[in-house]
């Protein structure tokens, strides 16, 4: 069973090219792969529930999958940000985020889910990465 057989099979119109949905990460800075998956899932849930982000209540599945944190009734997205000289902690706090202490140019941050799209357009941030799950071993 050699490659040519594969290739022949692939070009035959017996199989169907699948339909797909594309979502581009829109924002002022790049985001991690996981963040893109999160945004895709978030958008799907919002489309289904027809709720705007400001009043959106995430499903249990979304909360579990992306470790959303509920503090005093508000859902937060947890992640890392990388910053540059334009970074303003004050500005970020205005949209009710909680930036942590810096480790080099990296900070942890809690972003209210309701303000996530606003957050993605903040200045002084060069990268956002959604917190990644770990497992004990």
């Amino acid at each position: 069973m050699k490659l040519p057989r594969f290739l022949l099979v692939l070009i035959l119109p017996l199989a169907f090219f699948t339909g797909c949905t594309t979502l581009y990460a829109q924002g002022a800075f790049p985001v991690s792969a996981d963040t893109k998956f999160f945004m895709m899932d978030l958008q799907n849930e919002m489309n289904t529930s027809k709720q705007p982000l400001k009043t959106f209540n995430p499903s249990t599945q979304l909360i579990k999958k992306y470790s959303l944190q509920k503090i005093k009734g508000i859902y937060y997205v947890s992640g890392f940000i990388k910053t540059d000289k334009n970074f303003s902690e004050k500005q970020l706090k205005k949209i009710k985020t909680f930036p942590g202490q810096p480790s080099g140019d990296i900070r942890t941050i809690l972003v209210p889910l309701s303000a996530f799209s606003t957050f993605l357009n903040q200045k002084g941030i060069t990268y956002f990465e959604l917190s990644k799950k770990l497992e004990i071993n």
Binding site: T18, C20, P30, G79, F80, G100, L134, E135, I136
Partner: protein
Amino acid sequence: MKQLNILLLFFLFLSFNVQAQNNEKPRRIPADFPSAKIARPTDAMSTHGMSTNTAFLLLEMMEMKKKSGSINEEQLTQKYALIRKGNKLYANSFIKLKGQLTMSGLSEQGVLLGSKIGSLYTALVPIDKIEAIVQMPDLLLLDIGSKEFLHMDTARIVTNVDKVHKGLAPLTMPYTGKGVVVGDLDVGFDLTHPNFYDTTGTANYRVKRFWNQKNNSGTPPVGYAYGSEYTTEAAMLSAPNDDTVQSHGSHTAGTAAGAGGYPGSPYKGVAYESDIVLVAAKLSTTYIIDAIKYVQNYAASVGKPCVINMSFGSQEGAHDGTSTEEQAMDSLTGPGMLLVRSAGNSGSNNMYAEHTFVNLDSVAYTFFTTYPKLTAGYRAYMYGRKNENFKVQLLLMDIITLNPSYFTATIAANIDSVYSFNLIGNNNDTMKIGLQASIDANSGKPNINIAVLDNAIPNTSTLKLFIKIIAPNSFVQMWADRPSPGVPYGLFTDFGIPDPHLITGNSTHTVGVGAGGKNVISVGAYTTHTIWTSLNAGLQMQEPGFMAPSGAIAPFSSQGPTADGRTKPDITAPGNMIISSVNSYDKSGDYDANSPFVVKDVSIGSKKWYFGKMQGTSMSCPMVTGILALWLQKYPTLTPAQALDRMKKTAITDNYTGAIPVNGSNTWGWGKINAFDGMTVSVEKAAIKNTLKVYPNPTSNELHIAFDKQANNTVITIADITGKIVYSNNAGNLTAGSEQVVNMENSPAGIYILRIVSNGEEAVYKIAKQ
């Protein structure tokens, strides 16, 4: 004079006579002794079918019965680890049989059978039936076993921690972790466990801070928006746990810093006089960075060095030390700030694959699958080479006919998009796939991540997810992940299809992301025990997947190298298996009194706590954390590089490790950690020597040591050539330009060794005293 001559002749005669007798009849031990002196056996019996210990148990029982009419249960239980169940006293035993087992015969004697391993059974045997049982025709052996080496005992001995605890020469004092903060980030802490007090198990509570990141009902630590902080003993004891289905954190903290839970306990951990800070962590990367800073802030507030244990990991990322978490961790290490991470338990998972594409070889394939089937949450992470690109196409491929039923477009990694696809099977069953393609912001590498979002294709189907990779003259690495702990990892396979373009997975490069940090010490695990005596369920044996000879690498211990070619893990320690404290609030059933994994209980009043066995690199990691706490006690400004240097110079090698290559081994790192030699080895640095002047040498009176630069935590010792310390001075922090003078006037002439430890480095001089 005549009389003297006669006497002389008489002695000469006697002397010749004795010699003559000796020549004729050599002196020998008599072949027999007078019968009156023979110690006749007080008891005798056949030992057919018995191990030595079984025979000795019976002998002692006979002696006791003869003496007092009954046995001394307490004495025998202590000596032979007997177990009382109801009105019967049992011995934890191995039974070996020939031919078919006569189960009924054993049951008639009241034997409670346990596990079967070939022709060997574990069993609880009533001790009053042993004599009858060994007469059974099918029985080859009844072995009540030897009392086991207790497992933390073993771990402490093989790592030479015991020598450090004793302060054997050339150490000048015992080292116990005093003055060092040990942080543990984990889940399943029992804040009330006696293991977290001093060696009495009841006094001097040693947990100084506790942050439960998972509980938002209390007050978070200053500077953080979530979780609850506990700062007093009373508050921590009333917490009193973070989890009721986990014991992991109680175990790891106990190994690194537990004091044993009761006087004389064999379950004493490594840094048993250290200060403990626990963080019940939300197991997610950002929370871990917050937790590290929290522990370090506490340590800084009390002016102590600290080492932090992290027995967890992930496979998500480029595995090259560039992940955001690893960058953050690297920046949080330094003098007196050490981070230790478990390598991972993927050493037997074929979850890594790579392919180098050369010349016309521009396409490769693999099946991404698992047993029994891919479900939502399975992922594959693919990375190419920086400044290059690769493409991926996903198909449902029939592994019998090799016909694809459905396929996606070909996606380039640098397209910076995320897609969802439906791959449709034979009966309109759908596998929903997410695919994200981008240039990874951290590593700069082209990256494609594949996520199974849903899968309705039955596991009996011959249609499997097939990845076609196109990367002319490039290189691609990929890792498979799993949705959650407790389910099998994804894997890459060729299903035995003999196509040269099909690549299959292996278990190299499986050291987790996080443990691959450049300044993080990562720890693999080796085996020290596979059998244990449980508290209430007799002798137990490790599951086959954990089985390995004592001293061998644990089969699960993840292997390096990192994707950028660095050796990982850095070091190994005992982790298969370890006995330590468990969570008394754990309701999972894994660690209650009846669990086969529990080996010991401790009672204070009406409350009981337990010690139990676990295995994993999670268990070897806190061994190294504890050892680094001991090293930090001696060298408070020790850096990660210096700690690693000590490990490299002193790690134990043996038949199992083999000779460690000059650049390290991707199974063993630099070998098996050696707590004692790592602490006592001379790690001389030219840098420190350049800042010192020692004069005059030779000296006849005073020896001057001049410090050109600020010298912190300075300790000066002088030993004679036998290693005996003749002078010791903990000089503390010395300013630039200061001088220490040692009076050697009364020291005997000879050669002495001067050691100056300062700023975490050591300088050694040979001094001649005239």
